[in-house]
Amino acid sequence: MTEQTQYGFYVDTSKCTGCKACHVSCKDRKDLPVGVNWRRVYEYGGGQWATNADGSFEQNVYSYYASIGCNHCSEPVCVKACPTGAMHKRREDGLVHVTTELCIGCNSCAKACPYDAPQLDPDRKVMTKCDGCFERLAEGKNPSCVDSCPLRAIDFDTMENLIAKYGDGDGHIAPLPPESITSPNLIIKANKHGQPAAGGQGEILNFAEV
């Protein structure tokens, strides 16, 4: 593995049905408690309704899902925000990890991250997050979320390999923030209803689930 290696995710939002297999398989791997979600599936949607004189409906409703863990960003704002150095980017594979022993649970990284990737463990008072399933990678396996996906909508590899396979994708779509903030290692295939990452007309519809 060279120093340039950078792992990343690919998410096909035209296939995702919001089934949450990724979210739950991730929790099972590390016995994550309720409230700590290393992978979250955002339901984004919008559209307007009107009723005609005869009671029939007109609407232009749309919705789609985006499954997001940590994008192991090239400019990780969580790392910059961390006062102790607990949050760090690994040189060998580009994964962003937390060294629990150094973490003081100040939540600065969580506040800085526009993807909500750092998730505070309320019992242990330390930050936790997607670790890229590094122990599975060492065994030559994919992260749990990737292999769990019933719709084959998620992939993971070095960014070099992902770009070779999928190209640069369609650019990020709402509710994701603009890529310029953190240079995320995430390639998105856009849903046909995809709204722009900045200024989308819809809203997140499932706040209780993410």
Binding site: K20, D28, V34, S63
Partner: protein, 837 residues
């Protein structure tokens, strides 16, 4: 081993030890067993056996007898249509938490409080088995075997240690009352059979490659069939591999089967699909298109399209001299034909034509859009129409299904590549041999849905009034009330049946039904109504042989399950617990036939090996069951595009209807509609021979309830449960919120904002839960994922005058009113009001 000891010790301290109900709050459900210190990991194959249609294999990792994690099939190169993996959904992936749930039933228990209160004390297996054996004998001799009911239950699709074990002991006791039908497909099964086919006989999704227009009415495989080799995955692949396909979805909700896969969503009001279908038919007929393009097809393959068709049928039947046909002649009324009905002519002139203008007001789809859909259907080369089961679960479900089926036949293209008949798509399957329940000496059958009514008036229920089957004649009563119920892996004793509050009242009186035995793994709402509770082993503790189940997509498979851990606490498999009961009955030899679990599994496996449709399984089935268990999963994908009614249209094989043809005019329905009794006070309780949109009680057009209950409430299958299975898993409750969906227009009118707690009520009950304000549901319609566990807060009374169900179970609001033909469950026909709690 320390971990095992801890789990066993916790059993003694658990809910069984004290005279209280099991606490099931999510607080203590969050407990996950700590990691054991030993690292050597064992992997075994199990499967998820709930009633979603698939039995996905799961890979269970355990260490020192404790499950450490659950993964899924990853054994192939995952090429779709070749060897794609059978990936479990979120539910299967949560099985560790479900297996170790704090509300697991840990020992046999008997009721000590009022029935339904949930107060139990632990008893020995010996006492449980003795009590059941002696009560079975007593009830059979006092009331007859027809008074013993094996309830509808689908919580565990085992092949060997299944609820058939209970059939064996009930049959060794002289038999039990049979049920027909089911809560999923009651109306559509009758509607499809009356029309000439099975409700799951549609062209398979591989046939979509030849289609240019897909129309789904209430069709939602992406939420219903979530398996990674399930129908949802087949649907995605079918759509993504056909760029020429236009996809139109018609549903009250913008479902996850859309989210970008659709070209157009048409929001429709619940229970009005027939009105929409009739308006499309009007366009096709009144424009002269049918006369020009499909009249010859209708004349050849169908009966009842027009008057001449029915006159011809009378002539043909008379000429046949066949008594089975002659008996229908008095019920064939040529003036009741479909064409006259749609056009508002002849006998139907007073009803008026079923125009798009009329239908738009009813169904909510604008007139112009109905006309546009009709034009698309007429212009399509190969229209593929599917009517989903949501359409059938209504007070008028039978005729709603039939009305939608008609569209395919009106095109005259059924039997051609890329065309379907309106039924749900066919699926693939491998076959497994299962344990026999032995022969039942009792012949009579009641509708699955009428069991609680049969507790009160089974003695007088008849074929003519109640749809009882296999009685001597229409008026011979069943002749027995239900006195004993065996609810095996069933939550339909309260939760999944209609009208929870009303059902609870019937069950609470233990002078009526005198014995309720519940076998399950968890303290479900139904378990709380048991007199005797039997703790089953979970799938992960079981050796068994299962197949893909009944709606698992085109991929067929078998799973040879091997217990990953020993049975927890005092749990026993159904096979073992029924052996104890059989022993007390003095029938152990007949029960076991001299075989133990290993011998049975080997025998069932060897039979399974002989089935011809398992011949192509990969890998090939090895010589012994033990070897099969080590391999785990066997699969085969049949890549043939299969066409609906191919053997009839293209092969000339007659259908199962009295005429042998597709019956637009159903002879069996004409007969039943005339002979049976219906209730004048129940709006919509009648049967006509041709499909007709029926206004019903609590339908959109029901003026009696419109004012008090302005919203229609429709249930749906949430991704976070399978029916009520998995409700007690905190990971899933977090991942998929239980909230009542409401359109922003309705929310604004009520001052409701996202996530606030609301009460939903009608005359039958009140539930309390958060509201999800979302544009994904039509105005005037509330939608709620079914299956949440009924949890009465007996300290509070809701606006309905009942306890408040803080569990948010939709069946606290649904009505017990059997549908006209199937005597099935109308659980999507509800009107409610909603306000801030």
């Amino acid at each position: 081993m320390e971990r095992r000891s801890f789990l066993k010790a916790s059993a003694a301290l658990g809910c069984a030890a004290t005279i209280t109900g099991c606490k099931t709050s999510s607080d203590d459900a969050n407990v996950v067993p700590p990691k054991p210190p030993v690292v050597e990991e064992v992997q075994t194959w199990s499967a998820c056996l709930v009633n979603c249609g698939s039995n996905c294999p799961v890979k269970v990792f355990s260490s020192d007898g404790v499950i450490t994690r659950v993964e899924t099939d990853h054994e192939t190169t995952d090429e779709y249509g070749v060897n794609h993996q059978i990936r479990a959904c979120a539910r299967g992936r949560s099985l560790k938490q479900r297996t170790y749930a704090p509300d697991r039933l840990k020992t046999p228990m008997k009721r000590v409080g009022k029935r339904g209160e949930g107060k139990f004390v632990p008893i020995s297996w010996d006492e449980a088995a003795s009590t059941i054996a002696s009560e079975l004998q007593r009830i059979a001799s006092e009331y007859g075997n027809k008074s013993i009911l094996k309830h509808y239950g689908t919580g565990a699709y085992y092949g060997f240690s299944s609820s058939a074990c209970f059939n064996r002991i009930l049959n060794l006791n002289g038999g039990f009352l049979n049920i027909y039908g089911n809560y999923s497909w009651a109306q559509q099964n009758e509607a499809a059979a009356a029309t000439g086919f099975s409700s799951t006989s549609g062209s398979n999704l591989l046939a979509l490659k030849d289609s240019d227009l897909f129309i789904g009415l209430g069709y939602n495989p992406s939420e219903m069939r979530q398996s990674g080799s399930g129908e949802g995955y087949d649907f995605l692949n079918a759509l993504q591999s056909n760029n020429n396909l236009e996809v139109i979805m018609i549903d009250p909700r913008y479902t996850d089967s859309m989210v970008g896969k659709e070209d157009q969503w048409l929001a429709i009001r619940p229970g009005t699909d027939a009105a929409f279908a009739e308006a499309v038919a009007y366009e096709m007929i009144s424009s002269g298109w049918v006369d020009k393009h499909s009249k010859a097809f209708l004349d050849k393959f169908c009966v009842g399209y027009d008057k001449a068709s029915l006159e011809q049928l009378i002539t043909d039947f008379k000429a046949s001299g066949d008594d089975s046909k002659l008996q229908y002649i008095p019920y064939i009324k040529p003036e009741d034909n479909y064409k006259d009905y749609i056009l508002g002519e002849g006998k139907f002139v007073d009803k008026g034509a079923r125009t798009p203008q009329w239908a738009a007001k009813v169904c909510g789809i604008p007139e112009a859009k109905i006309k546009a859909i009709a034009a698309k259907i007429m212009n399509a080369r190969a229209p593929f129409i599917v009517t989903g089961a949501g359409v059938n679960r209504h007070a008028n479900g039978e005729q709603a299904m039939r009305a939608c089926y008609m569209l395919s036949f009106l095109t005259g293209k059924v039997g051609q590549p890329g065309v379907s008949n309106g039924a749900l798509p066919q699926q693939g399957s491998l076959s497994r041999s299962g344990l026999s329940g032995l022969a039942n000496p009792v012949k009579e059958q009641i509708s699955f849905f009428t069991w609680a009514e049969a507790i009160e008036r089974g003695h007088e229920m008849t074929a003519r009034n109640d749809g009882v089957r296999k009685t001597e004649d229409l008026d011979t009563p069943l002749g027995a009330d239900v006195k004993a119920i065996f609810a095996i892996n069933s939550n339909a004793l309260i939760n999944q049946h209609s009208d929870c509050n009303g059902t609870a009242k019937i069950l609470e009186d233990d002078n009526k039904c005198e014995l309720i035995v519940v076998c399950d793994c968890w303290m479900t709402p139904s378990a709380k109504f048991a007199d005797i509770l039997l703790p089953d082993t979970s799938w992960l503790e079981s050796n068994d042989l299962v197949n893909d189940s009944y709606a698992s997509g085109i991929m067929g498979y078998l799973v040879a399950m091997k217990a990953g851990i020993e049975p927890l606490w005092e749990c026993k498999s159904m096979y073992d617990m029924c052996a104890l009961i059989a022993e007390k009955m003095g029938k152990l030899g007949e029960y076991t036939e001299g075989k133990d679990e290993a011998a049975w599994l080997e025998e069932l496996y060897q039979k399974t090996r002989t089935y011809s449709n398992n011949a192509n399984a990969e890998p090939a089935l090895p010589a012994t069951y033990a070897e099969a268990q080590d391999i785990g999963v066997f699969r085969a994908f049949n890549g043939t595009a299969k066409l609906a009614l191919d053997s009839y249209i293209n092969g000339g094989k007659a259908l199962g209807t009295p005429s042998g043809k597709v019956e637009i005019y159903s002879l069996s329905m004409a007969l039943k509609g005339t002979e049976w009794n219906f209730n004048d006070k129940v709006k919509g309780d009648y049967i006509t021979a041709i499909p007709q949109y029926q206004q019903t009680w609590e339908g959109y057009e029901d003026e009696d309830t419109k004012e008090d209950y302005p919203l229609q409430l429709v249930g749906f299958h949430t991704k976070g449960r399978t029916h009520s299975s998995y409700h007690n898993v905190p990971w899933l409750r977090e991942a998929v919120e239980d909230a009542v969906w409401m359109n922003p227009i309705d929310a604004q009118a009520r001052g409701l904002t996202q996530g606030v707690k609301v009460q939903v009520w009608n005359d039958r009950g009140t539930i309390e839960l958060p509201v999800r304000v979302t544009p994904r549901v039509a105005p005037g319609v509330a939608a709620l994922g079914q299956g949440a566990w009924y949890q009465p807060d007996t300290n509070r009374t809701g606006p309905s005058g009942h306890i408040v169900d803080v569990g948010g179970c939709i069946n606290t609001l649904t009505r017990y009113q059997p549908s006209p033909l199937a005597k099935g469950n109308p659980q999507h026909t509800n009107r409610v009001q909603i306000a801030k709690a």
